[in-house]
């Protein structure tokens, strides 16, 4: 079992700071996702760890070993590339056996064959061993790439968006397979993705990146329920979070929010929003934090439009005198555009951020 540690690692490409002073400690056996939008430095982090690019500053350790000056072939890891990078002139068997034939490792031919067959069996590609990569479908290529990485039983597994070329169905199935694989082999896995659902379902912890900086490193529930800043709150979750700028006042057990031209009573949110009380704050409201009903208590609003999104109906409602926010409603509920509705906010799911630093005000 081997952990991975980045200490103050930076990487620039010309004028672009691809990675800015990264500190990240991954425990042995963890499944860590690197999550972030395009260009946020995820692949850079992975390539630094693999030794495909050199760090400008900082220290990278795999286990106890500082690997900054080790070439990739001596770091003892395995990697699955975004586009698989299978060797086109070798059969599937030769591809999977390739890591076993490297100098200094060469196992006996019989042993190589046994291991390749076992891995192929696990991944269901036994039938394909004699084929060439160009004769495989995308999903099959992907499994061969996984097999090539697994066959050596590496201490650390790197995966760079391995599912991004697959169709939605296959992606979900492979997601499960990868999770099962991790449970089976218990290697440390570093997994790059910009798909937050993938990160949420697979990881023990998620590292969220933006513009070359690590924003938050925490368990999936914590990332979702206690985002460290506006970026994280906005990036995770199915749709954009509504951000309301204004002031929060505590009113006993409740809280009052004063926006530009409107006010909201946030029933029961007094304690949660206490750290934000009496100051300018940005309130973050996800759709699932708002319940919408035709009448009863709550803030008055008008339905702008509705959409069916998977198992939910999403209602876009305009707060009287204020902005439009998305709310999640029962799929069977019916709301017409222009209808007057009431919004109730779930106090435990409200977030408050400092408008200047964008950091969360709720500990």
């Amino acid at each position: 079992m081997t952990g991975v540690r980045f200490s103050g690692v930076s990487k620039r490409f010309g004028a672009v700071a691809a990675l800015d002073s990264l500190d990240l400690a991954i425990e042995a056996g963890e499944f860590v996702s690197l999550l972030g939008p395009s260009g946020s430095g995820k692949s850079t982090t992975l390539n630094l760890l693999a030794g495909l690019i050199d760090a400008d500053a900082g220290e990278i350790r795999i286990g106890e070993r500082v690997v900054n000056d080790l070439p990739p072939d001596q770091r003892d890891l395995a990697m699955v590339f975004q586009n698989y990078a299978l060797y086109p002139h070798m059969t599937v068997f030769e591809n999977v056996a390739f890591p076993l034939r490297a100098r200094g490792r060469s196992a006996a031919e019989a042993e190589i064959e046994a291991r390749v067959k076992r891995v192929a069996g696990m991944l269901g590609v036994t039938e394909l061993l004699a084929r060439y990569p160009r004769e495989l479908s995308g999903g099959q290529q992907q499994r061969v790439a996984l097999g090539r990485a697994m066959v050596r039983e590496p201490k650390v597994f790197l995966l760079d968006e391995p599912l991004s070329n697959l169709d939605a169905r296959l992606r979900i199935r492979m997601r499960r397979d990868i999770k099962a694989l991790h449970e089976q082999i218990r290697s440390t896995i570093v997994y790059v993705t910009h798909d937050q659902a993938e990160a949420m379902t697979l990881s023990t912890r998620i590292a969220v990146f933006d513009k070359g900086r690590l924003q938050q490193f925490d368990a999936p529930e914590a990332i979702y329920n206690r985002p460290a800043n506006v970026f994280v709150a906005n990036f995770v979750g199915e749709r954009e979070i509504a951000l309301l700028a204004g002031r929060v006042e505590r009113d006993g057990a409740d809280a009052r929010f004063h926006g530009a031209g409107y006010a909201l009573l946030l029933t029961g949110a007094g304690a949660r929003l206490a750290p934000a009380a009496g100051r300018a704050a940005t309130i973050g409201v996800r759709a699932e934090a708002v319940a919408v009903s035709a009448d009863g208590p709550g803030a008055p609003a008008t339905v702008a439009m509705t959409e069916l999104s998977g198992p939910d109906r999403i209602v876009y409602a305009r707060i009287a005198g204020g902005p439009e926010i998305a709310c999640r409603a029962e799929p069977r509920s019916t709301f017409a555009s222009g209808q007057d509705v009431r919004l109730r906010f779930d106090p435990e799911r409200l977030h408050a951020f400092d408008p200047g630093t964008t950091l969360s005000l709720i500990p």
Partner: protein, 278 residues
């Protein structure tokens, strides 16, 4: 005219033009072949026959008896050694240029292009004195080294261009799989660069096999004579004796044609299909 008739007409015209080109290119060779198979006294006969009515291998026998074996062997040795040396050195240099960023890389590339454009005859005399100083004139090794020096820039250039088409991620994958740079070059890059290697190799081969000027200047003894020089000597010894001359020319053409036929499929097929997606 209907589109069908028009397309037929266009194809007929195309075929006629191509036939014309092929005939023009092949005619001298076929004429030489025909001449080499005619008995001496009928070669200059008028009207000439394209297909000899009394074919004979007398000229070829005569070549063999006057010892054409040695020049053929010399040419083969020199060509093979030059091709091997150019491909080995050219692969290493081309790979370094294709994959590494190092100080002075632009300068090296510029120098390669510049060297390629120096006309060979202009360096012949200085090269000769140089070779004499090294005591390598009048030797096959000297010829191999010279040919390699002349052909290395173009080899490096061709291979550099080809190596850059090999997806870098495949190489990175191999490095992570435990292979160092040289092993990656040998097991991944070169096998995927078949067409590039063949193209560069044929370039070098045709030069080394056909070269007359350099060989005739740098060597004088009969034992190191290459085939083109030997053919020239047939012209010298026998005056206008066309039979042996054309027969020798045929002997020198055949291996080159053979090599091209064997390797032609490499010109047609790229080999990186199905390696990376997206």
């Amino acid at each position: 005219m209907s589109w069908r008739a028009r397309s037929l007409l266009r194809r007929a015209v195309n075929a006629a033009i191509m036939l014309g080109i092929v005939a023009t290119a092949l005619f001298p060779i076929l004429w030489g072949l025909s001449t080499s198979l005619k008995p001496t006294e009928r070669i200059l006969e008028y009207p000439p026959l394209l297909v000899p009515d009394q074919p004979t291998l007398a000229h070829y026998r005569m070549l063999w008896e006057t010892g054409i074996g040695r020049p053929i062997l010399n040419s083969a040795i020199v060509s093979a050694a030059t091709v091997a040396l150019c491909l080995v050195l050219g692969s290493l240099a081309g790979y370094a240029l294709a994959r590494f960023a190092f100080r002075g890389k632009q300068g090296v590339m510029l120098a390669i292009v510049a060297v390629m454009s120096i006309p060979l005859p202009s360096v012949l005399v200085p090269t000769f004195t140089f070779l004499v100083n090294l005591d390598l004139n009048d030797s096959l090794i000297g010829l191999v080294l010279l040919y390699t020096a002349y052909q290395l820039p173009i080899t490096v250039w061709i291979l550099y261009g080809y190596f850059r088409t090999v997806p870098e991620q495949i190489e990175q994958a191999a490095m992570i799989d435990g292979y160092g740079r040289l092993a990656v070059l040998r097991k991944i890059v070169l096998p995927l660069s078949g067409p590039g290697l063949v193209a560069a190799g044929l370039f070098v081969l045709t030069f080394a096999w056909n070269d007359f000027v350099v060989a005739v200047v740098m060597s004088s003894s009969e034992s190191v004579r290459t085939l083109p020089v030997a053919i020239y000597h047939y012209l010298g010894f026998f005056g206008r004796d066309w039979g042996p001359l054309t027969a020798a020319a045929m002997v020198s053409i055949v291996p080159v044609i053979g090599v091209f036929v064997v390797f032609q499929r490499y010109f047609l097929s790229g080999m990186t299909g199905g390696s990376v997606k997206g």
